[in-house]
Subunit: 115 residues, 10 copies
């Protein structure tokens, strides 16, 4: 579990409701070229006992600023660390990367089943 | 049940139809920072015996103007008080919050099952 | 059955196809304030033996110009009178009302089941 | 079968794939008023043995330029003649007509079942 | 299997997640007229053991620049060669071609079943 | 001067600033056909001593609901009556009428000179 | 002067105001290929003594449906005949033609000087 | 001068450049009805010796949350207090208010002359 | 003068009117990387004695498909060759290039003065 | 002059034409909070003897990734260093910064006079 991520108790633990956080300012570094990559990260989840705290989520995203990591790897790492932080009923990470070489890419990964 | 909310008899009680009210002027206060939060609230419901009166709905939303309350809590409170006011067949509250710290958030909570 | 509405024989009675008519110029009067209301009415239906004639549909919509009637009531009345005029397999009326008191509203009512 | 429509052998007959052709320049004549009607025609189909040749499709659509025909009738005629020309697994014609008398109309008709 | 396409090991082989690459700069030649055709190619797939390398995907797309090939044929060839390169769980190619003779066309072909 | 229009003293009479009011719910009647016309009215002006009161402006616009009047005439009448009510430094009325017979129309008339 | 065009007396002859009519349904025939052309025609003018009657304008535009005429010629002919019909202070015709051979074209011609 | 507004020295005092700050979360109270008003405030200015500090600008805007004040008055007060805080070469305040009674309003006021 | 470009006599030589042709399918090759570049070319001109023939314009643009040439050079070459072909009163070439390395570029060059 | 920026000889030195480069991936650090800032930088200039090389421009922009610098300062520094690199006839830098504290900001600075 990533130590930057903080949680707080779910205020409505008996209800299956959806929380979405959109972050258009994600940036990491391409391990091949050393040049920066940019993405918009959408996080959608149904909380169980805990919700992810917003400010810690921002600090967590910003911690990737100097990391060299590929599109497919970073999307799956985000999903795993975010899911580990709050053990949600269901979670989905959608990463939309800016155009590189004329190609723009989107990676969508899910954890658990949406009821 | 919130005392601001008024209802009137459903004019077509035998039919499962959907009523939606979109309110882009919701504002409350962040309990942590004391700074104002802003959201667009979409209310969708299938009425049973009663419909929510439009002017009272506006006064109800405006009553949150000075309340300190978090995103997840306010969305669930809105759903509970609105559902209590008219006992609908089904109800959904969608709260779309303005960007804070580069992150914009949406919370969606439902009451009952859509037939 | 409203006497303004006219129909013509369905040219393809053996096929379940969908006809949609969008009318952005619907206006009636608020019974409470006496002020005009405005809506866009979308009519979708699968015809059985008869189709609704377009010019008569326009005159029918325009006949509400001076009527005092609430959102929920007018949507259900439109559905009932339009369905009575042509006995469709399925029909849906979607009424999107202009902003009043900061709130814009949509009412969706259906008749029969979409195959 | 309309003699203007030409086909060519489906290059991938073993696969159920969808072909869509959008034509925003369809025009015919209103049989009542003699005034021109305008529509965007979307053709979607899953080919069986044959695909519709694009240039012949354009000539076929243009052959309606001087025909007097109603919305519902022309949409069903297009579907029947296009389906007869290539015997598709599934076909759908969507005709979106320009505003007349403040009302814009869409007619959607299907042939066969989408797998 | 096309020799231009390169792959790398899937970093999350145990998870069914979706990778999408959008390429708005595809161009080939019409075999009939000799004039260039243009398309936006969307590739969506669920990887199995291997992911398609982005730079090789771009070179592969660019290799069609001087080829004479019809819409339906090129879409199916892209799907076959891309699927052969990485043996995905599921793959879809969507080719949106620019307007020719007033008609714009979209071809969508799939390989395998989306779980 | 139209008796429905009310004014209040300009709070900044020494400054040439621009006030704009957009009203998308204007409706009158076509004198030829008796059918309703619809327009969006934009009023822009630089006040002198007086500003137009918003609620009275709405009632003034609504007073045209049953009047039979042509596009060019109504736009010029609006300009004359609105200018007479507040003697502005400069005023412009822009009336955008909905499509009739496939043609949508805009009439723009000014009073005085914009400094 | 084209005999289809009718005028009526300008209701505000002392004021230099602008009238605009947008017609998205103009169609003529390409003299070279015999295939139909399509355009949106925007007419803007400052009337002098006379205004162009809307229904006659539509019939005038529709009279080009079977005429073979090039883009540059038809735009200038429209300007000349429309200006001759009402002797305006200023007039402009903007013709936006649909894509042919991958190229979309706009022709803008003016008569007189905008004050 | 409003005591909430803070400034810092212009880093490029010799150059006439434009600074714009857009704030879509302005809210005050209607003095007549007691109901909240909402506006987007755009501030554009050419600094002289001082620039307005961003966080203090936000606190300044938020200080209107409970004030009863009309559209025209608040726009001119914002301009006067913001100009007094930094003595700019030129300044413009544009206030776009949400729809009330079917009318949306914009007030634009300037201080000094744009070079 | 490029030999692909053909002209025809201006049908309205006494009037200063503007002709615009938009071509979103321009492609050439980067001389540095050998990879294709893509641009939308807008040509605007006021003809003198001659107008550029549309089909020859398309063939002329397509003749750059295999040429290695930089953004700034190709825009100026287009302007020079297009102006030489028809000796216009005024001409402007606007070339909008697709994103490369995260940067999208526009080059605008004019010949003569717009009256 | 910044050592990262490279130039090449202007291919059309006798013509006053405009070059624009749009870079939506600019990021620096807020000196106050240490948190990242994001901006879209538009560079427009009329070259004199030299043009800015595109790849070096990207590396130059990326060199701000770890710098702590305020909005107004960075925009003026960009203008000064970019102008020093190529001595243009005219240059403009437009920096559009992402929302911070509910406020989005744009800074526009020019060097020289546009002819």
């Amino acid at each position: 579990m990533n130590s930057l991520l903080e949680t707080f108790p779910n205020p409505a633990p008996g209800r299956a409701y959806v929380i979405s956080h959109l972050f258009p300012e994600f940036t990491s570094v391409c391990p091949k070229t050393g040049q920066p990559d940019f993405a918009t990260i959408e996080l959608d989840y149904i909380p169980s006992e805990a919700c992810i705290e917003l400010k810690s989520l921002k600090f967590y995203y910003n911690s990737f600023r100097d990391k060299g990591i590929f599109y497919e790897a970073v999307t799956n790492q985000l999903l795993e660390e975010l899911a580990a932080s709050c053990s949600p009923v269901w979670m989905r990470v959608t990463a939309r990367f800016n155009t590189r070489g004329g190609i723009s890419s989107v990676i969508v990964a899910e954890h658990g089943n949406k009821p």
